[in-house]
Symmetry: C2
Subunit: 401 residues, 2 copies
């Protein structure tokens, strides 16, 4: 019904162009991305719950909440424009205005985002020429450049596209994202920009985006932090001519594709977590409630002791159980069982079936699943985490310098 | 009114002996500690809130809750006897029984504790001769040996004593503790054993211990984890002949000394946090409520990004503000001010007064204070944290091997 397109990006859906340029916020690398639709888009979004919100978050959220149609998203990297007060807010409005002028559209048709260091003034003068440059460079092949331009400590370009066969014809989804450190639960926990040529009305678009984000970006953990700048946006320009509504059969297929796309985006962020060498799925089953399953998954995914054990390929199921135990969820430790992929490690009543050699083989894989069966109910949750390594420390102890 | 005694320990209060011996759970180092009072003690205690509780925790908590008088505390290190099921519970009862027999007292007069690897069977046969050895070695100078014998990844012996001048005469407090990784909020978050020769009845002793632990051990963070085995015990044998009760003036002085002792113990644990090189006090003022101040202090103290910035001596106030912002507490970022010791860094309305050179000097000190003024109310909280370094990763990625 749907399939991923190799080397796909936000420019796969009809009518979307993108670019990524260097404007001088960073020392050398691309630091300004632009996504543009030649017809107006319905836009949905979800934003950081951190009480400290960067200026671009407030401006973009306002446009989304007012249900305004938009045509462009402009994102700079290298500077978060967060904790910058009134001058920062003015800078954010300026970059929005300049972009609108250069594109000959209205300022409120431009969504904006920033990522990078907190608390430093945006070098706004550099954006002026940068924005014109980004507009000039807009192209149907510019998705990868845009993906590059939103990276900070990311080591891999994160770009995707999905082709979906609906009853009415083909629609496509494209996406780029970034995020490496400061990834944590709570909601939109990085930057993600999704485009589609499907025709969907605002409230439905917002609803399916929130649901997709809840089972993807909100279920990943690199370091338990939640940034001032996180957002995920979804823009639909309708250019496929195929309309998806609440009652259409196509909705189920489209939602499934969107959910899978968001999970792939989220996993790409975890597996590129700062210093990370492993991508581990935490699958919690049979918790007392869905909420309990979520608390347990989150606690395991966030545990520094579990994450260092993952790094050391150490079958330390005790740390997994201990993390579940201090999650706040209902736990009877005698009812818990744990397995690594298909290998049972702990059975109820602390029956240990751990075969250290087999376990070590699995734990040395770049990707595996830790299954935790709580044995109390039917609540389920899936989280993704990475290991905590010396490189995380190195990256974060001198990020500013 | 009170002063710390150099090289003091649990054996400073009258009537207490202690020992620390090697029994073979660890490869070479002391791994069995015994504290003994020659007269019965009133005992207070506080225990881990982790739902996964080790066998010795359950047994000791039961004795404390039944208000039984006790004479001894036996603690092994190297093995936590946690997640060991019924066999583990039997082993814990056995170590209690053998200790009672060797001391010619009742099993319920022996409190027990364990610390070390989770999920491995206690080599109980080694404890049989070890316990006799510990009993034989009991002495009025054995406090330091006991402090050594409860260490796991600790690099420093943690032993204290305080001499308190009351109106009625002198009483003393002694203490040993351990804890290095797996230190986190929530309550008794490591092992701490406090002795006193004051005469205090149970409910008052329990009350002042809980209050002291709440402003000390419950305010420290090494890695946000909360172990299966944490406890703090306070034993009072009354041998000073000085009685302290709810209405006595001496209570205030005694409580102040106990609080200070617990804070020193807690700080000694943080500053010896796994891989830690710095001890940082997080002082939160003028939050909307006491609870909000606590949430903010906890969020900053637990933030991996703040902890790596502390390691890098990086004046990254943005990470501090961001951690406060996702603490769940009420925050208006424009009202927050931050200083390092006496050096203002951020003033309200994002007025930046950061002098990088002066800041770097303070942040290079082994101890300093991060002051965070929320500007919304009068809630206060003090937390202690350490930096997150490569060594934390090294220690925890191969702890079991």
């Amino acid at each position: 019904m749907y399939q991923f397109i190799e080397n796909g990006s936000v420019t796969v859906p009809k009518g979307f162009k993108a670019s990524g340029v260097f404007c001088g916020i960073k020392k050398k690398k691309k630091d300004l991305a632009l996504i543009y639709s030649d017809t107006p888009c319905i836009a949905a979004g979800t934003f950081t719950l951190n009480k400290v919100k960067a200026a671009p978050i407030l401006i973009t959220r306002d446009i989304i909440e007012k249900n305004q149609k938009v045509k462009a998203v402009l994102i700079n990297s290298g500077n978060a424009n967060a904790c910058t007060g009134d001058p920062g807010h003015k800078d954010a409005l300026l970059m929005q205005k300049w972009c609108a002028e250069s594109l000959h559209i209205l300022p409120e048709e431009v969504l904006i985002g920033s990522t990078g260091v907190i608390g430093q003034k945006l070098p706004i003068e550099k954006l002026f020429s940068g924005i014109n440059h980004a507009v000039e460079n807009l192209s149907h092949h510019g998705g990868m450049d845009a993906a590059k331009a939103i990276m900070t400590t990311d080591t891999k370009i994160k770009s995707f596209a999905v082709c979906i066969q609906l009853n009415g014809g083909i629609v496509t989804l494209g996406a780029i994202c970034k995020g490496s450190g400061m990834i944590a639960p709570n909601m939109a926990t990085m930057l993600g920009f999704i485009t589609t040529d499907a025709d969907i009305e605002k409230s439905l678009l917002q609803k399916i985006l929130l649901e997709a984000v809840d089972i993807s970006f909100n279920k990943i953990s690199v370091d338990g932090e939640s940034s001032t700048n996180d957002m995920v946006l979804l823009l639909a320009n309708g250019q496929s001519g195929i309309s998806i509504n609440e009652s259409s059969d196509d909705l189920i297929i489209f939602v499934e594709a969107l959910n899978t796309l968001c999970k792939e985006m989220a996993k790409s962020i975890v597996s590129d977590g700062e210093g990370a060498t492993k991508l581990v799925t935490i699958s919690v089953k049979n918790a007392k409630s869905k909420n309990d399953a979520d608390l347990i998954g989150k606690s395991i995914a966030n545990s520094s002791l579990v994450k260092t054990a993952i790094y050391g390929a150490d079958a330390n199921w005790g740390r997994i159980l201990s993390a579940a135990g201090h999650s706040g969820a209902e736990i009877d430790p005698t009812k818990v069982s744990i397995s690594f992929n298909e290998l049972p490690v702990l059975l109820p009543n602390f029956n240990l079936t751990l075969d250290e050699n087999s376990a070590h083989k699995i734990l040395s894989l770049p990707e595996y699943v830790i299954n935790v069966d709580i044995g109390l109910g039917s609540g389920e949750a899936t989280w993704w985490t990475c290991d905590l390594t010396e490189d995380y420390i190195k990256i974060n102890s001198d990020y500013r310098s």
